[in-house]
């Protein structure tokens, strides 16, 4: 069977790898519009920050093992009747099954003075490695930057640029940052956190115009205010790349409409990743895209023809030096009996809000120092019951309390407490040695066999012996 994958981003490259690993007899062709090796888009903000080079974001190639990988090839048309693709070079490629993994493109809002099809120098979107190169070319020597859009992508770009030492201003049209994931309280703490990293957020600020000159770029805001910087990054969201699918007559709404097997309205064509719309949802995230790739691979390779995509819970995560943010789920549905737990310490940048319905986490926002964050994400992800003591999720580690606990006061320690683990010697077992006159601590411990194991209990034994000496002298005095 000839399988052609159009798109070599996170979804397409994953599918190619999944198909290769299943070792079937398929002939697989991957056509990627970008000229690069497969790379990890998640890491682009680290490229922006200058922490890693381009080579470091490369991911495993599916090439070899019967996979024909062709970067830099743009597909211009799909002939569904003949099951053929046409490339920009006029080449025709046949398929038995076609998978569209065409991704999305950055959305540039219509602003006065901005040609959205031909962005001026000093104005860039932030989506691909080429976008990164463009931003870096301008950022080199720049001191200030504007980021239009205070969603996840905009904040990723902002912290990347701030990490390079640029003074960054984020312009956001809504009254709080990441409004799809955060509540106003979390946003307020986040604004404060960002300020500490050299990022200023302008909220309720509607951009209206762009004036790009040779040395600077100015963003005009509704109300007449103007912000000027060396660089403007537009991060106003993405649109699924659906043109080719639409032209081919496939059902397209916001994205290419697919069923639970990721099949489009043509059963010989599937779609996965950012370009696909499943059950009304276009996800735009890596985790669902990879799960979709896995399902398609299982179905196509015949490993599990009944495999069906079930949407994964969505967890949004922003983690960089100085920022630790996780958001998941949604507020409780109307009429549900929901528990809401919250903790806020704005001065230290910590905020947590959890929604629990029927012993399950249905939503959470965590910002700052939340040691239980890993547990919270897994409980949400797996629909597992929450701890009986809810505080475990808000304060400290959810499992098992802290690490090493300091030695208890010997007086309060019950006699049955094991002092020496190696030789199972209890506190009670030490007293007879002392009372029979053994000194110093080593000798007291020697009889029941404590301390000569790993030596870890030496301090505890000495503490108990000291306590025994106090107790005994009191007894003598009495």
């Amino acid at each position: 069977m000839k399988v052609v994958i159009v798109g070599y981003g996170m979804a397409g490259s994953r599918l190619a790898a999944e198909l290769r690993d299943r070792g079937t007899d398929m002939k697989i062709t991957v056509l990627g519009a970008e000229q690069h090796r497969a790379y990890n888009r998640i890491m682009l903000s680290s490229v922006l920050a200058g922490k890693v080079g381009e080579r470091d974001v490369e991911i495993t190639e599916a090439a070899g093992h019967g996979i024909d990988l062709r970067p830099g090839v743009t597909v211009t048309a799909v002939d569904r009747a003949a099951r053929k693709l046409t490339t920009a070079d006029g080449e025709q490629i046949e398929y038995d099954h076609l998978v569209l993994a065409t991704g999305s493109r950055a959305l540039v809002p219509p602003l006065a003075g901005l040609d959205t099809t031909n962005l001026p120098e000093r104005v860039a979107v932030f989506r691909t490695l080429d976008d990164c190169r463009r931003i870096l070319a301008t950022a080199d020597g720049a001191r200030t930057a504007l980021v239009l859009g205070g969603g996840l992508l905009g904040l990723e770009a902002a912290r990347g640029l701030a990490a390079r030492g640029l003074d960054v201003q984020v312009v956001h049209a809504v009254g709080h940052l990441m409004e799809r994931q955060l509540d106003p309280g979390a946003s307020a703490v986040l604004v404060r956190t960002l300020a500490g990293l050299g990022i200023t957020a302008h909220l309720d600020a509607m951009a209206s115009s762009v004036t790009a000159g040779p040395d600077s770029v100015t963003l005009g805001l509704a109300g007449g205010r103007e912000l000027t910087a060396d660089l403007l990054v537009v991060a106003c969201g993405v649109r699924p790349e659906t043109e080719m699918a639409r032209a081919a007559g496939l059902a397209v709404e916001r994205g290419i409409v697919v069923d639970d097997r990721m099949r489009t309205s043509d059963p010989a064509i599937s779609a996965i990743g950012d370009c696909a719309q499943h059950d009304g949802v276009v996800s735009g995230l890596v985790a669902p895209a990879w799960e979709q790739a896995r399902i398609v691979a299982r179905v196509l390779a015949g490993v599990d023809p009944t495999a069906r995509y079930r949407p994964l819970p969505v967890v949004t995560r922003l983690k960089a030096a100085g920022i630790d943010l996780a958001a998941m789920g949604a507020p409780a549905p109307e009429g549900a009996v929901a528990e809401e737990l919250s903790f806020a310490d704005p001065a230290r940048g910590t905020y947590a809000k959890l929604t629990i319905v029927d012993e399950r986490l249905t939503g959470a926002i965590m910002l700052g120092d939340n040691p239980a964050i890993g547990t919270v994400i897994q409980l949400f992800d797996r629909g597992a019951p929450v701890p009986i003591d809810r505080r475990a999720l808000l304060l400290g580690r959810a499992i098992g309390g802290g690490a090493a606990t300091p030695a208890e006061s010997p007086a309060l320690m019950p006699d049955a407490v094991t002092v020496c683990q190696c030789n199972t010697v209890t506190k009670g077992a030490l007293a007879p040695g002392w009372r029979s006159g053994a000194r110093p601590a080593q000798a007291v411990a020697a009889a029941p066999g404590a301390t000569p194991g790993c030596g870890t209990c030496r301090d505890a034994v000495e503490g108990i012996v000291e306590w025994l000496s106090t107790v005994d002298s009191t007894e003598v005095a009495a």
């Binding site: 080579r55 983690k319 964050i373 690490a403 190696c422």
Partner: protein
């Protein structure tokens, strides 16, 4: 033969080592005029005078009332005492009959990682020369095989620690992956204390907050079965932060580019979701490992006993290589060997695919060398046989062995999917068990041969550092008891190859030296005298005028080109993940006062008092949902079987995971539950994770 303890009239002492774990603590054994045997601490470089409760009480088994002192032969449902002549004749005659009827491979041997080098060597030789069967393997397959395979691939050699233990106490950062040393080898914890006192950072990766994890500066508590992803994330972070050692990678390794591209897909937030370990903790761990100066990474069974054990160890080796650790003074990667002679036991031929000196049995040059030492035609040596679990699984089947001889192992308790393995063992025409107590496996035997204990034998052990040590006999075995070497020699003699076997351990060791010469684990230059004089000798030691090799990899690795290998590895789910029917993870492990299948330690009073029975450890939240209180009996069920034991509630375990120790048999046998999914390379079973449900009994 003199008459055992009664014959001792004056105080006598020997400097020897503990019979239990791979730390092989030095101890002095003293026979008193009253006929008692005392254990005294001994200053030795590994344990520095420390012993744990198992070591202190080890001598209690020597004159234990349950000790076997006569061979036993099955008659119906009972085992009756018999003479050695009768027992050995019966074994030899039945072997001959079975081999005549079903071929040479119809007789198999199952060895153990607690046997001395001499015994492990003799067993391997007996299989290939005496029985001429390919079917020999040992319980070390359940122990060290994943780390061994990963070490061989990356470094070209498998020596648990490629540096002395003393380096560990001096590490600035120490990472323990799935190692609960405070319970499994307590005197090792001295090095943790020392490391801490020097201001070092200790990081422990374990799904439970174990006694060891409590001592950690940073404890990472991942979902069972996700250690590999965790390692890839640590390397991802080191790469992103520019903490890798580029010069080292260029000069001393190959294959980094593909590993770099693999770990690029393990960004911290993704791995946080898989493991439950917060990104901040991943970053803190990576920083400590990369920026701490001298760094040591150690794995143990928690990371290795998985169907992806080799890949998991490889992921930690990749991390160590990227940070430039192996071969750098004071730094490195190592694995903590478990069984007493887990290291030596895997070097000298009781492994299905191996000949002495860590040689491969399918290598013509290796076959020629060893055949020459043994005085046989290389073509007569059998080829590789199946691995331990596959061997046990095939017993009594149409193409499988009809007889098995077991030395130093108790697979009815220690094998995975143990109820099934018990059935397979019961289906044998002949089961022979050499042991000093009636273990659960011995109780099923057709013939039980009572053997000597550690205090009654001379020989060598190779500890977790690759240090060859001397075991000194304090006394003769009691009347009616013979050594394993004597059993092997007697059987060989009855099978017509008696001239090739000896009962003298020193003679066996001298032959082992010749057989291992030129191999990876080269003992040619090790003599018993040197071992005594030098506090042990580290292999490789190719000649008597060369020192041993305490530290490997200073200049080169044991690969053909001298470079260490990076190998890309990807996370994959456990063979059995939780689902609606079996919603909890089970992980198994050890407690301090018991050792392995417990055949020895369960018979010692103070150990039985310290750890009297099996238990099922669970989080109070889980217990509340199950309606179970501390001490209530619970039944744990997997797709393979059930176990029953009291619940032990503790907040130190994840609420989605239960833990059971595997030292007990019968209804409390944890291995009735465990999975027989095997690692594709090492054939290690997946002891550390399977799916179960728990109910109040």
């Amino acid at each position: 033969m003199t008459g055992g303890a009664e014959a001792v009239t004056a105080t006598r002492e020997v400097a020897t080592h503990c019979p239990y774990c791979a730390l092989q603590c030095g101890m002095t054994l003293r026979a008193t005029p009253e006929g008692k045997t005392e254990v005294l601490a001994r200053q030795f470089p590994t344990n520095r005078g420390g012993l744990c409760q198992k070591g202190w009480t080890a001598a209690e088994l020597l004159d234990h009332p349950e000790r076997l002192t006569a061979p036993l032969i099955r008659e119906g449902n009972t085992l009756r005492p018999a003479t050695w002549e009768e027992a050995l004749d019966k074994v030899a005659d039945t072997i001959k009959r079975i081999q005549d009827e079903h071929g040479r491979d119809a007789v198999s041997i199952f060895g153990g990682g607690g046997l001395t080098n001499e015994k492990a060597y003799a067993l391997g030789k007996f299989a290939r020369v005496g029985l001429r069967t390919k079917n020999i393997d040992y319980n070390g397959r359940f122990c060290m095989s994943s780390a061994a395979a990963a070490g061989m691939k990356a470094f070209g050699v498998d020596r648990g620690l490629p540096f002395p233990l003393s380096d560990i106490g001096e590490a600035d950062t120490l990472l323990l992956v799935g190692a609960n040393v405070a319970e499994t080898m307590p005197p090792f914890a001295r090095y943790l204390t020392e490391q801490k006192q020097r201001g070092g950072t200790l990081i422990v990766i374990d799904p439970r907050l174990t006694t060891t994890a409590r001592q950690a500066t940073l404890h990472l508590q991942p979902t069972p079965g996700t250690d590999l992803a965790l390692a890839n994330a640590l390397l991802h972070i080191a790469l992103s932060e520019g903490w890798i050692d580029k010069d080292y990678i260029a000069a001393r390794t190959t294959g980094f580019a593909e590993v770099r591209r693999t770990v690029a897909s393990y960004w911290p937030a993704r791995v946080e979701r898989m493991t439950g370990v917060p990104v901040a903790d991943l970053e803190a761990a990576a920083r400590a490992l990369a920026c701490g100066g001298k760094t040591i990474i150690l794995t143990a069974r928690g990371a290795e006993q998985h169907s992806k054990g080799v890949d998991t160890v490889t992921a930690y080796i990749n991390l160590a290589l990227a940070l430039g650790l192996p071969g750098r003074p004071g730094s490195g990667y190592g694995c903590l060997t478990g069984q007493g002679n887990g290291q030596g036991g895997r070097e000298h031929g009781q492994k299905a695919d191996q000949l002495p000196g860590y040689r491969k049995i399918d290598d013509p040059a290796a076959r020629a060398h060893v055949a020459a030492v043994w005085g046989v035609d290389p073509d007569e040596l059998p080829g590789p046989g199946p691995s331990a679990y596959e061997l046990l699984d095939s017993l009594g089947t149409a193409g499988g062995p009809k007889a098995m001889l077991v030395f130093g192992s108790n697979p009815v308790v220690s094998a995975p999917r143990a109820a099934h393995i018990e059935e397979r063992i019961k289906s044998l025409d002949l089961l022979v068990v050499a042991d000093f107590v009636l273990s659960e496996t011995a109780a099923l035997a057709d013939v039980v041969l009572p053997t000597a204990q550690w205090a009654e034998e001379d020989g060598t052990m190779t500890n977790l550092e690759g240090r060859v040590l001397r075991r000194h006999a304090l006394r003769e075995p009691p009347p009616g008891v013979r050594t394993d070497l004597a059993v092997i020699a007697e059987l060989a003699s009855r099978l017509g190859t008696g001239d090739r076997f000896t009962t003298e351990p020193r003679a066996v060791f001298e032959e082992l030296r010749r057989a291992s010469a030129g191999g990876t684990a080269d003992y040619a230059g090790v003599t018993w005298e040197r071992v005594d004089a030098e506090d042990g000798v580290f292999w490789p030691c190719p000649s008597v005028d060369q020192p041993g090799t305490p530290r490997l990899f200073a200049d080169t690795f044991a690969t053909p080109d001298g470079l260490a290998r990076f190998l890309p590895v990807e996370h994959r789910p456990a063979a059995e993940e939780v689902d609606a029917e079996y919603p909890l993870y089970l992980t198994t492990g050890r407690v301090l006062a018991q050792y392995q299948s417990g055949a020895q330690t369960r018979r010692i009073g103070s150990l039985r008092k310290a750890a009297p029975n099996a238990f099922v450890e669970m989080h109070p939240d889980l217990a509340a949902r199950l309606g179970v209180e501390h001490g209530d009996e619970v039944v744990v069920t997997s797709r393979r079987g059930q176990m029953r034991a009291p619940a032990r509630l503790t907040e130190t375990i994840r609420p989605d995971t239960v833990f059971a120790p595997f030292h007990w048999g019968g209804a409390a046998r944890a291995n009735s539950l465990t999975s027989d999914a095997l690692d594709p390379t090492s054939r290690m079973p997946e002891f550390k994770v399977c799916a179960v449900k728990v109910e109040a009994a």
